[in-house]
């Protein structure tokens, strides 16, 4: 066990920002979520049982995210009547195509059910191991594995549905999908 060094946390901002973006589906909400996560962590001294701060940050991010969802659901309907604000990103980028793809992928993840969303964010976006992710999300490892499989499957389906159709017969794609599910890719074992 060791005390968390606040100065070491700053190196995780980028990864946590990506995770928050995928959870919320919005860059602006991600900024708020990350800031609130750090504010929570830094509000008092913390003792880590393991070596990895990222796992701990994911746990706090999860709690902050879920608390925000609960709070929002309790608020009056006036909140729901607000216009969705999708402001143009004032930050310039020299890779607009990549920016579009990032937005598309994270928006797709953000539409998943909470449990699936948290699983794919913890493992694929943040890069935690299955064990760390399960601990951070307070679920059994087997549960996490199942949720991760389903989350990836749903993301694949939704992103695939938006992909232009190449000159290929439907039967081929169906065969390929069945191959993948049957063992072409072993989600729980092949992609740690």
């Amino acid at each position: 066990m060791r005390t968390l060094d606040p100065n070491s946390l700053t190196r995780h901002v980028d990864r946590l920002y990506r995770a928050a973006w995928a959870l919320s589906g919005s860059r602006e909400d991600a900024e708020d979520l990350v800031q609130e996560t750090f504010a929570r962590v830094l509000s008092r001294p913390r003792v880590l049982r393991g070596d990895d701060e990222l796992y701990y940050l994911m746990r706090v991010l999860r709690n902050t995210f879920l608390t925000g969802l609960r709070t929002a659901s309790r608020r009056p309907a006036t909140v729901a009547m607000l216009e969705d604000v999708v402001a143009a990103d004032p930050r310039p980028t020299n890779r607009p195509e990549q920016a579009l793809e990032v937005q598309e992928i994270y928006a797709t993840i953000a539409q998943l059910p909470d449990g699936f969303r948290l699983a794919i964010v913890a493992v694929d976006v943040l890069g935690l191991s299955y064990r760390e992710a399960a601990q951070a999300l307070r679920v059994r490892e087997a549960t996490l594995t199942t949720r991760l499989f389903r989350a990836r499957k749903q993301v694949a389906g939704r992103l695939g549905a938006e992909r232009p159709a190449p000159p290929r017969a439907q039967e081929d794609s169906r065969d390929r999908r069945e191959d993948a599910h049957a063992g072409g890719v072993s989600v729980s074992e092949g992609i740690p």
């Binding site: 008092r44 216009e83 920016a99 990836r152 992909r163 159709a165 992609i191």
Partner: protein
């Protein structure tokens, strides 16, 4: 037979997700560094009144009113620099937070020329923490400060009198036909717009674009309409 796009495999999905290396905005890095250097908790927390009263509120005050000062005087005879404006406004709230209106639960009791400050606590969780009143270039400026979770705060200033001082620069975002101007001052996001012809300035610290615009464009039950 119609053609279907091939689905992504799980490995393709994982590869695409893991290949994303988008960086957090520089402002977010700065805000996190500020949180870390503040050292609250690790070196012992300061009293809440000290944190908000001497740090948060003056900072928000500076953000909101510094811009107001510059805007108000931009077409006038005097022209204080931004630094002077910041120095003038680095003062704590001078008045307690206005209470919720007894007649309208979307408003506070405070107003400027009949333009009321919004009551956000019930709908958004933003609590009014204090207020101040200034006079700039002959115009009254009232500012109400709001605090949110995660040490976020907002200064909401309304400049009295018409016509409203001209504002230029930034980006325009329209909501329900009302133009909201987005600017960045002192590293903080600022939104300016008109309510009943009066200039409103919303400056947030640690607040994202969507949040600030949502708050600015909130119309309550029609009583906060611009």
């Amino acid at each position: 037979m119609s053609e279907q796009p091939p689905p992504f495999t799980e490995s393709e999905i994982v590869e695409r997700i893991r290949a994303i290396d988008v960086q957090a905005p520089a402002e977010l890095h700065e805000r996190v560094r500020a949180l870390v250097s503040d050292g609250a908790g690790v070196r012992g927390r300061r009293p809440a009144a000290l944190r908000w009263g001497l740090v948060g509120v003056p900072a928000a005050c500076a953000l909101a009113l510094a811009l107001v000062l510059v805007l108000v005087t931009s077409g006038g005879t005097s022209a204080p620099t931004l630094e002077q404006a910041v120095a003038l406004t680095l003062r704590p709230a001078t008045m307690p937070a206005p209470a919720e209106s007894a007649h309208d639960r979307t408003q506070l009791e405070a107003s400027v020329d009949g333009v009321a400050f919004p009551y956000w606590e019930e709908s958004f969780g933003w609590r009014a923490t204090g207020a101040r009143s200034d006079r700039l270039d002959g115009r009254a400026v009232t500012t109400v400060f709001y605090a949110g979770r995660g040490r976020r705060w907002i200064g909401y200033a309304i400049v009295a009198g018409t016509p409203a001082p001209a504002v230029s620069g930034g980006a325009i975002v329209r909501r329900r036909g009302t133009p909201y101007r987005l600017l960045r001052e002192h590293g903080a996001l600022v939104v300016t717009w008109l309510r009943d012809g009066r200039l409103c300035v919303l400056a947030g610290h640690g607040v994202g674009t969507a949040t600030l615009l949502s708050l600015a464009s909130w119309h309550g039950r029609g009583t906060i309409a611009s």
